[in-house]
């Protein structure tokens, strides 16, 4: 129970469904802040108190589980390492994979519980598959797609069939004080929302060049390549506009040279994506198949041909994507009227474009780091 409205209503629904429920708040920081400064995060003492009060109202026991060390090792350190390597990690996804549905689920099962209930917006079909929530704006199947079938089997998502605004109405009706609490976004362990500053504190500052990808011309400087993400347009600090007057985007990040390449949006075009070893939530496929893929949380969906090969997945997109960052997850969905089902997921290793003027079909330019 994060202290937000979703987990509170999820807990209440689990109680109502006849389960013997215990509320658990995860302490994820050794030095939690006392007060939120905005609608950020879920690690403050105030959030812990909100969760406790929700548990009181629902009428269930409540405990704080200290997962600070595990969270730091598996999520925060991974976050630094990924940025340092020029990739763009998704820490919420990593937290689900390593903490909520791993450390917490394992501990719960060992202590005699049957499952972990969360306020995630996703559905589990009767076939055991993970499906999108009915509320497309809140669907969180993307950040849950990293779960293994065993982890999914130990999870319960009571909110998947309900739109968010209805969850708030229900919270109000149940007398839960968190009914109107704002949604949390941003990264919970970066209290002030300043990701760049957070990374700079740890990874340090190092002067480097911002270079035009086509001409090689040095356009400006930065103080650390880890502050950038593929497709980023703002915060480049370039004084001169491009010759054609169009905005420039980060095309590639090379941490070894601390080099950031920029160029026009068209150069961000991606037609083919490679992932590392996939996690299969449905029966593993061996040959190519048609599916839909999603490349970021709440992001666009692309029809694609997906082929399992060389220990990873290759997705050929039927319409191009723009600004795909390595380190993000590629999630493969089987479209369905009952909620698209997650078939598999994998971490993006590399992307290719067929369309660059200088690159012919078939022999394409590999971008992003590996």
């Amino acid at each position: 129970m994060s202290g937000g409205v979703d987990s509170a209503v999820a807990a209440a629904r689990a109680v109502e469904a006849g389960h013997d429920v215990t509320g658990v708040h995860l302490a994820l920081s050794k030095n939690p802040q006392t007060y939120r400064t905005g609608a950020r995060g879920c690690c403050t003492i105030e959030d812990s108190r909100d969760a406790r009060r929700a548990a009181d109202v629902i009428g269930i026991p409540f405990y704080v589980w200290d997962m600070a060390e595990r969270f730091h090792e598996d999520v925060v350190e991974d976050f630094y390492a990924e940025y340092a390597a020029g990739r763009t990690p998704n820490p919420c996804l990593r937290c689900n994979e390593k903490i909520k549905f791993a450390a917490v689920l394992d501990r719960a099962l060992a202590l005699g519980f049957d499952a972990v209930v969360t306020g995630h917006y996703a559905r589990k079909g009767e076939d055991g598959l993970l499906r999108r929530a009915v509320d497309p704006g809140k669907d969180q199947s993307y950040v849950l797609a990293v779960l293994t079938p065993a982890q999914l089997a130990g999870s319960v998502f009571p909110l998947g069939d309900t739109p968010k605004d209805q969850v708030r109405v229900e919270a109000e009706a149940r007398g839960l004080a968190v009914a109107k609490k704002p949604d949390s976004h941003d990264i919970c362990f970066i209290a002030d929302g300043d990701t760049s500053g957070f990374l700079k504190n740890r990874l340090g500052r190092k002067e480097g060049e911002i270079v035009d990808a086509a001409s090689g011309e040095v356009l400006g400087s930065h103080d650390g390549s880890h502050q950038f993400t593929i497709g980023q347009r703002h915060g480049l600090g370039l004084k001169r506009p491009a010759a054609d007057g169009k905005p420039r985007y980060v095309l590639s990040i090379t941490p070894v040279d601390n080099r950031v390449e920029v160029g026009p949006r068209e150069a961000l075009r991606v037609d083919r994506i490679r992932t590392g070893a996939p996690v299969w939530l449905a029966a593993e496929r061996t040959g190519p198949f048609e599916a839909e893929i999603q490349l970021r949380a709440h992001g666009e969906v692309y029809p694609a041909t997906v082929t399992p090969e060389d220990g990873g997945l290759t997705a050929k997109l039927h319409k191009p994507a723009f600004g795909v960052a390595a380190g993000q997850a590629l999630v493969v969905y089987d479209p369905s009227d009952d909620g698209d089902a997650v078939l598999a997921s994998g971490t993006i290793d590399a992307t290719q474009s067929y369309a660059s003027a200088s690159v012919g079909e078939g022999e394409s330019a590999e971008t992003a780091s590996v």
């Binding site: 302490a27 050794k30 200290d66 600070a68 060390e69 202590l111």
Partner: protein, 385 residues
């Protein structure tokens, strides 16, 4: 439900509750000059006399406070502030104090530039007086106040207060003792102890929460924490809590009067609890001093288990106990007391405290012994995360 957390708080004694309700119906500010005021004042002064008598103190030495924490803060900060000079700016404390003392001392160090010396303890949690003697010979002239608890709140070890006070007296250093876990549970004689100040708390001995007292020798001065109406020798301003004070006196008086027989009863129950835990969970480690210890305290480490997990499982089975001292953020830190006693961090996180009190019966002990083995089995499966 078996409640085995009486060191956290114990229910009010029936006679203390009666005294509270009776007094709370009466009108009067103890500082007012009219009849109602005089009547309230009389209740307060009679309470003061009863507490003094029960604890070997003089009535004028009893200062009523709003909590044990306040009494500790008043003694440590107040005496330090009064006695400090450029040459004399050192507070001596121990590694096992409750946060009410430990954090007050740390604050003096961090924010008031006080020098702080922390006395180590041995494996049983007993303060090393040889280290103290050496320290005082070397730096006795620098010390403003020395503070050492009478009995430890986690492992129950009793401290050699008389010996420590005698060592300090040779250097003219006032000794404060946090006796919050001791009063009513072991014999406490303020005058005989040689201490200059002693803190007690109502809700640890059958009185109301929100009451406490500092016994402060008349020749020891303290700078007040609270300024106002000048009550309590001008050391603790604030309208006196007449019903709370009356109930506190009732509880202290009863607890001290029955201390010997009650201690014998609790120690027998506790010894039974310890013997049966050792029999059913052979790997359990009994912490603290088996002999010189609070009669109602049993403290164990369960190797390979997390104290938090054990607490939750026992709670679900209807047995309430503690992992150590509670923490504000809800994050369990390994106990500083066990670490000071030389325990490894994992062992310190795997401990539980069972504390018995006046309502405890054999049935409570039986309930714990019945529920514990299964809780340990499950907690061990979950392991140390």
């Amino acid at each position: 439900m078996a409640y085995l957390d009486h060191a956290a708080t114990t229910p009010m004694l029936p006679q203390a509750l009666d005294a509270y309700v009776r007094t709370a119906r009466a009108l009067g500010n103890a500082s007012s000059l009219h009849g109602s005021g005089r009547s309230a004042r009389r209740t307060v002064e009679e309470a003061r006399e009863r507490i003094a008598e029960a604890l070997g103190a003089k009535p004028g030495e009893v200062i009523f406070t709003g909590s044990g924490t306040e009494a500790d803060n008043l003694a440590v900060k107040g005496v330090h502030w009064f006695r400090r000079t450029p040459e004399r700016n050192r507070v001596v404390t121990t590694a096992i104090e409750h946060h009410a003392v430990a954090d007050a001392v740390a604050w003096l160090g961090d924010h008031e530039k006080a020098d702080v010396t922390e006395l180590p303890v041995d494996k049983l949690g007993r303060v090393d007086t040889a280290v103290l003697a050496e320290l005082l010979d070397e730096r006795g002239a620098e010390v403003t106040v020395l503070t050492c608890m009478w009995a430890n709140n986690e492992v129950g070890t009793l401290q050699p207060i008389a010996e420590i006070a005698a060592l300090a007296a040779a250097h003219g250093i006032p000794v404060h003792t946090d006796a919050i876990q001791a009063v009513g549970h072991v014999p406490v004689d303020f005058a005989a102890s040689g201490a200059a100040a002693l803190a007690l708390s109502g809700h640890k001995l059958g009185g109301p929460t929100g009451t406490g007292a500092l016994i402060l020798r008349r020749d020891v001065k303290a700078v007040p924490l609270l300024h106002g109406g000048g009550q309590e020798r001008e050391i603790r301003s604030g309208t006196l809590d007449v019903p709370g004070i009356a109930a506190l006196a009732e509880a202290v008086s009863h607890a001290v009067r029955t201390q010997e027989t009650e201690s014998r009863r609790l120690a027998a129950l506790r010894d039974d609890l310890v013997a049966r835990i050792r029999a059913t969970v052979p790997e359990a480690v009994y912490n603290g001093d088996a002999e010189s210890r609070l009669p109602g305290n049993a403290h164990f480490s369960f190797p390979g288990c997390e104290g938090d997990a054990l607490l939750m499982l026992l709670d679900a089975a209807g047995v309430e106990c503690a992992t150590g001292s509670a923490c504000s953020a809800g994050i369990a830190q390994p106990s500083h007391v066990l670490l000071a006693m030389g325990a490894e961090a994992d062992d310190a996180r795997s401990s539980l405290r069972f504390t018995l009190g006046w309502p405890t019966t054999q049935a409570d002990v039986d309930a714990l012994v019945t529920a514990l083995p299964e809780a340990v089995r499950r907690a061990k499966t979950a392991g140390l995360s």
